[in-house]
């Protein structure tokens, strides 16, 4: 369970897919998800997030919103029985996913399929 009383931390992902943590008074208006390109302002305008990773990137803006709308900030329900990876995980698989996305966008399906196999084998290692 994440520390709820700790100072607000924000995860920033660099182009290489590695994560840095920075203390913040975060300027929410400047946030943009490196995975899907959605900005925090897009989210506030449409009410829809762009990708699962937005929950990490926009966390500091989402927490007060969830507190107000859902009257809760922490999931207490079901969780996957085989949890391969949570969205808070970062590093290797995350980086591979970015490369996969780029390969698909470039329509390089051979490379995309190789990267996908690699991701699957890593997931299997994590899941076992």
């Amino acid at each position: 369970m994440p520390p709820t009383g700790s100072p607000m931390m924000l995860m920033v992902v660099t182009k290489q897919g590695t994560a840095l943590m920075s203390n913040s008074t975060v300027d929410l208006a400047k946030l943009r998800c490196p995975d899907c390109g959605t900005t925090y302002l897009d989210f506030r305008r449409t009410g829809r997030l762009g990708c699962p990773y937005d929950y990490v990137v926009f966390r500091s803006g989402l927490l007060p919103l969830l507190d107000r709308v859902q009257r809760a900030k922490q999931h207490r329900g079901k969780r996957p029985r085989i949890l391969r990876e949570t969205i808070e995980d970062h590093g290797e698989i995350r980086g591979l996913r970015l490369r996969l996305k780029q390969a698909v966008e470039a329509e390089d399906y051979i490379q995309a399929s190789q990267i996908r196999d690699l991701i699957r084998s890593k997931e299997r290692q994590n899941g076992s």
Binding site: C36, T46, C51, L62, L66, R71, I82, I87, R97, V104
Partner: protein, 365 residues
């Protein structure tokens, strides 16, 4: 399974049996799930949507190998067919009007439908006739487990199952029951019930979900909150409330019979009379009149027609169903004329059958 065959049946949600079926029409649980590796649908390109579809279709086919579901490519259906699936509660209005690659997998009994590329990558739905919210949860939970073994869902330890809209995050679960509450509506007590429900974080919606009218006195009651409670707690909350509302409705019906039987009998009989003789009638008026007749049948004020037929007519008189049954597209006034004619014919047949049943039933002699 063919959509035209479905049109002649009345589907799971209006089958009219199950516990407390005179008031609790149906119970439903929906789960919103997303694949970890893709952007949410509003942000996804066509290529990504197709890949999501391929992956989920393969998974759904594998896990239901013994009892196959039938896939419909919603993007390629006519608008009439999409509307038809909405009327049957098999897809949402949002799914019908969305764009790009999307599909739905439906069980032949229509109790399971899995929407792919709706607002979320996967929306699972289990729907049963009558009051059976717990069975719905048990079925959908197993289905979700089976899918989860084969795909990576977007999940966070902190926020649970991640969804495109934060109002669904956490359990991703919407549990609802559809209630027929004509007496509470007639006696104007319904607003008080709604206010009480809102206080305990339950939402009230019309027949077709968010923003829809409570036509035919059908009301959907569902959980507002998806985060911070377990699925069990969400189901229990509904289970506490539904029997209370059912009791209120029964009390209101008894009160009407006791104090205003003449007025009530007159009202349901006039409704029945209009349905049997109208030459043109809108969908909305049909729903209102059927609602009165349905209560009249349940209270034995109308005895020559069965509740099954009335349940049937609720769905068959809807615009897309009517056009499917008539075998052609009908606009505006033509549709209202066709609806009136359809209702007259079915109700006349229903009365004949009702009389035949009465003749062979020894207790009726």
């Amino acid at each position: 399974m063919d959509l035209n065959d479905l049109a002649t049946r009345n589907g799971e949600w209006l089958r009219g049996d199950g516990s407390e079926a005179d008031i609790v029409i149906s119970s439903r649980v929906r789960l919103a799930r997303n694949l970890a590796d893709f952007p949410f649908c509003s942000r996804g390109g066509e290529l990504e949507k197709r890949e999501i579809e391929t992956q989920l279709r393969r998974t759904i086919t594998e896990i239901n190998a013994e009892k196959p579901l039938v896939f419909f490519d919603v993007g390629h259906l006519t608008s009439l067919d999409r509307q038809f699936l909405v009327e049957r509660q098999l897809i949402s209005r949002e799914h019908a009007s969305a764009e790009g690659s999307r599909s739905v997998a439906i069980a032949p009994e229509e109790d399971i439908s899995l929407m792919v590329n709706e607002e979320d990558h996967l929306r699972l739905q289990v729907l049963h006739s009558g009051y059976s919210i717990r069975q719905c949860w048990e079925t959908i939970n197993k289905l979700d487990d089976a899918i989860e073994e084969k795909v990576s869902y977007a999940f966070s330890e902190e926020f649970g199952y991640l969804t495109a809209c934060p109002t669904n995050v956490g359990t991703g679960m919407r549990a609802s029951v559809m209630l027929h509450l004509p007496a509470l509506a007639m006696t104007k007590q319904i607003d008080r019930v709604f206010r009480a429900l809102q206080k305990i974080q339950l939402a009230v919606r019309g027949l077709y979900g968010e923003g829809s009218q409570a036509s035919g006195d059908f009301y959907q009651i569902s959980n507002n909150i998806t985060l911070g409670k377990t699925e069990e707690e969400i189901i229990s909350n509904i289970e506490v409330v539904v029997p209370t509302i059912v009791n209120y409705e029964r009390t209101a019906r008894r009160g009407l019979i006791k104090e205003n039987k003449q007025t009530l009998h007159d009202r349901v009989s006039r409704a029945y009379g209009t349905l049997r003789s109208a030459q043109t009638i809108s969908s909305e008026e049909t729903m209102q009149l059927l609602s009165s007749v349905r209560m009249g049948v349940n209270l034995n004020l109308i005895e020559d027609v069965g509740i099954d037929l009335i349940n049937d007519l609720f769905i068959h008189s809807q615009p897309a169903h009517l056009q499917k049954l008539e075998g052609k597209e009908l606009e505006g006034e033509d549709r209202n004329v066709a609806r009136a004619s359809y209702l007259r014919r079915r109700l006349a047949e229903g009365r004949t059958n009702g009389e035949k049943r009465a003749n062979i039933d020894p207790s009726a002699q």
